[in-house]
């Protein structure tokens, strides 16, 4: 008979405790809330899957989810191609490389709420530099506190400013890892610059781009701080994304049950899309 040694469990214990405290226990608390109803005084009543049913049939949830999907789609469609283009046009060697890299990294170093506050002030129609110039010099009617379109445009511009650098830096890392010999081989084959991009640069960037898209999807799908500081979800509900709505339900209305159910659905969507995307992108790597 084989000797059994259970000591290994002992070594896994620290990780188990850590994960339990930072993920499992909070998560189970949320699960706990999501199936109960409370009227205060710490008294809870069993509600089953009622909150989930309500939520999935709720107009308000559908609207927030729709806004969220639209926002994330726009962000990905702008930031990924733009990031690749900037990375392609950055120098590969010489004095300007560190300068470009630092300039690129700068926006990412700024705390999220500061970014929100900065852009809020920047875009205010009366005192903000951007808002003032748009309304006076350019003569465009621009007021993100009143006009939903202006609010969306401002938030998207802000996110592009804040996060395109991440795509740039990841793509750039992929690009500089391509040896000169491949470019030479492509030239000798007579390849156009589009073919070089399509058959040499893009395949080499595939892995980092997968990570970039994944990170930008998760971050933009979960965006909260900047939007909260800039518009607070307004004007009206026009920029009330899922996270903003969630906080309104949980802390504004103190509806713990519905908020817990929403958190779980929100989490499930993020997880499912990320998993699907990652699996698809890495499917043929084993071959």
């Amino acid at each position: 008979m084989k000797t059994q040694n259970q000591k290994a469990w002992f070594f896994v214990l620290p990780v188990l405790l850590l994960v339990a405290f930072n993920a499992l226990i909070p998560m189970m608390t949320v699960v706990n809330y999501s199936v109960q109803e409370t009227f205060g005084n710490n008294v809870f009543f069993w509600h089953g899957l009622g909150w989930f049913e309500d939520l999935l049939n709720s107009e308000r949830f559908h609207a927030a989810l729709g806004r969220q999907i639209l926002f994330t789609t726009i962000i990905l469609l702008i930031e990924i191609p733009l990031g690749i283009i900037i990375a392609l046009s950055m120098p590969r060697q010489g004095f300007w490389v560190p300068v470009c890299l630092v300039l690129m990294a700068l926006p990412m170093l700024i705390p999220w709420n500061v970014v929100g506050a900065m852009w809020n002030i920047f875009a205010l129609p009366d005192i903000g530099l951007l808002g003032y110039l748009m309304n006076t010099t350019l003569g465009v009617d621009y007021d993100m506190t009143q006009d939903p379109f202006a609010a969306w445009a401002t938030i998207i511009t802000m996110d592009v400013w804040h996060w395109t650098s991440l795509v740039v830096l990841l793509s750039y890392a992929g690009l500089v890892s391509i040896p000169d010999a491949y470019y030479q081989a492509a030239k000798i084959d007579g390849a156009s610059s589009w073919s070089v991009f399509r058959y040499i640069q893009l395949p080499k960037m595939k892995q980092v781009l997968t990570i970039a898209i994944l990170l930008r999807f998760m971050d933009s799908f979960n965006i909260y701080t900047e939007v909260f500081v800039m518009t607070g979800g307004g004007p009206g509900n026009s920029t009330t994304f899922l996270s903003i709505d969630l906080v309104k339900i949980a802390l504004g209305q103190f509806d713990l049950g519905p908020a817990a159910a929403m958190s779980l659905i929100y989490f499930a969507i993020t997880l499912l899309v990320s998993w699907l995307f990652y699996t698809l992108m890495t499917k043929d790597e084993g071959k």
């Binding site: 030239k187 000798i188 007579g190």
Partner: protein, 357 residues
């Protein structure tokens, strides 16, 4: 098909990497660029391929001036020392890539790729990716791409350097027939004199960005025009010593002196002599008559040949001889050189007399 270089130079940041070079490469045989690492072989190839800018001079292919033509339009192939294949494409697609770029019909691509794959025994690997192949197979894929393309010039930049010994021998044997009758000018860069002798129809000896000598391989091996050319085309290194010529006598310091009828026409004075290692033996023979003495520093035994490095007043010499010789490191050992095999070079390095088998 010919490639003609007219006084081309390469200058990088004020430093001249290739000094004015004029060469004409012909089709029908291998043109070897022989020189040490850093001699300018790869630089010259890159200039011909259009990958690096030329500072001055012109390049012609078949009489057409291609100096200003981009690499894409020169219709050439290049095989590197390290294996360059597109990692995410199959072997088939790798071989087909230049044909696809050229917009060739599918059926024709299929035919050309299969022909090249057959020649290089890559048929069973056509649907694999490069990283699933051995080094030899990867390099054969790169060669197949060059063959399938049917370009007018093929540059092989030390293509065998990273292969193991057996594969290198095997592929080296195949190389000439791969490109025979294809009409392309083949330029083959190597740092091994032996490869030049085995492959080269003609050889250009390169040294420090200069072509020391260019011509039919056997001829420039036998008759180097300069001391530099003699040094480049010798492995192990050629033996060099200073001599003084007085009448028909050659005097090598205190080491040796001998009569040389062959060199009697040269004016008296100071010269360098150079003699290849296999003309210096540890035992006298009818030809090897001039006795030298030197302290044995290093000995090597390679199968049926013995070599000994020994100290001479003007630097170390090498003796290479058949059979096994019981050298003792540190002993003073007599060596005998063949005076008829000595080449005489003037102080400026130009050949004065000699040139032997």
């Amino acid at each position: 098909m010919t490639i003609t270089l007219n006084q081309i130079t390469k200058v990088v940041a004020g430093q001249t990497h290739i000094k004015p070079t004029s060469l004409t490469f012909q089709t029908g045989h291998f043109n070897v660029l022989l020189g040490e690492t850093g001699a300018g072989k790869t630089s010259l190839i890159k200039l011909m391929a259009g990958l690096d800018p030329i500072a001055a001079g012109t390049i012609e292919m078949d009489g057409q001036d291609v100096t200003k033509l981009s690499t894409q339009k020169r219709n050439i192939s290049l095989v590197h020392q390290f294996f360059v294949n597109y990692p995410h494409m199959t072997v088939f697609d790798n071989i087909a890539s230049p044909l696809k770029v050229a917009g060739m019909a599918k059926s024709e691509i299929q035919g050309r790729v299969e022909e090249a794959a057959d020649i290089l025994q890559l048929r069973p690997m056509l649907h694999r990716r490069p990283h699933e192949l051995s080094g030899g197979q990867q390099q054969r894929t790169a060669l197949a791409r060059a063959i399938a393309k049917e370009s007018r010039a093929v540059f092989l930049d030390e293509p065998l350097a990273n292969l193991d010994y057996k594969l290198r021998e095997e592929l080296r044997e195949q190389l000439p027939e791969l490109f025979a009758g294809r009409g392309a000018v083949v330029v083959y860069a190597t740092s091994e004199p032996e490869e030049a002798l085995l492959l080269g129809g003609s050889t250009a000896l390169m040294d420090d960005g200069n072509v020391a000598q260019f011509g039919p391989t056997a001829e420039i091996y036998r008759k180097p025009q300069t001391l530099t050319a003699a040094k480049v085309f010798s492995d192990p290194p050629i033996n060099v010593a200073r001599v003084t010529k007085m009448g028909s006598k050659l005097i090598m310091g205190d080491s040796a002196r001998w009569d040389s009828a062959k060199m009697k026409d040269a004016p008296d004075g100071d010269y360098h002599i150079a003699v290849r290692p296999h003309h210096v033996t540890p035992k006298p023979t009818p030809a090897n008559t001039v006795a030298l003495k030197g302290q044995v520093l290093v000995t090597e035994l390679s199968g049926s040949e013995s070599s000994a490095h020994f100290a001479m007043p003007d630097g170390n010499w090498v003796s290479l001889s058949h059979g096994v010789h019981p050298y003792q490191v540190g002993e003073d050992h007599p060596f005998y050189l063949d005076p008829s095999a000595c080449m005489l070079f003037a102080e400026d390095g130009q050949v004065v007399a000699g040139g032997a088998v």
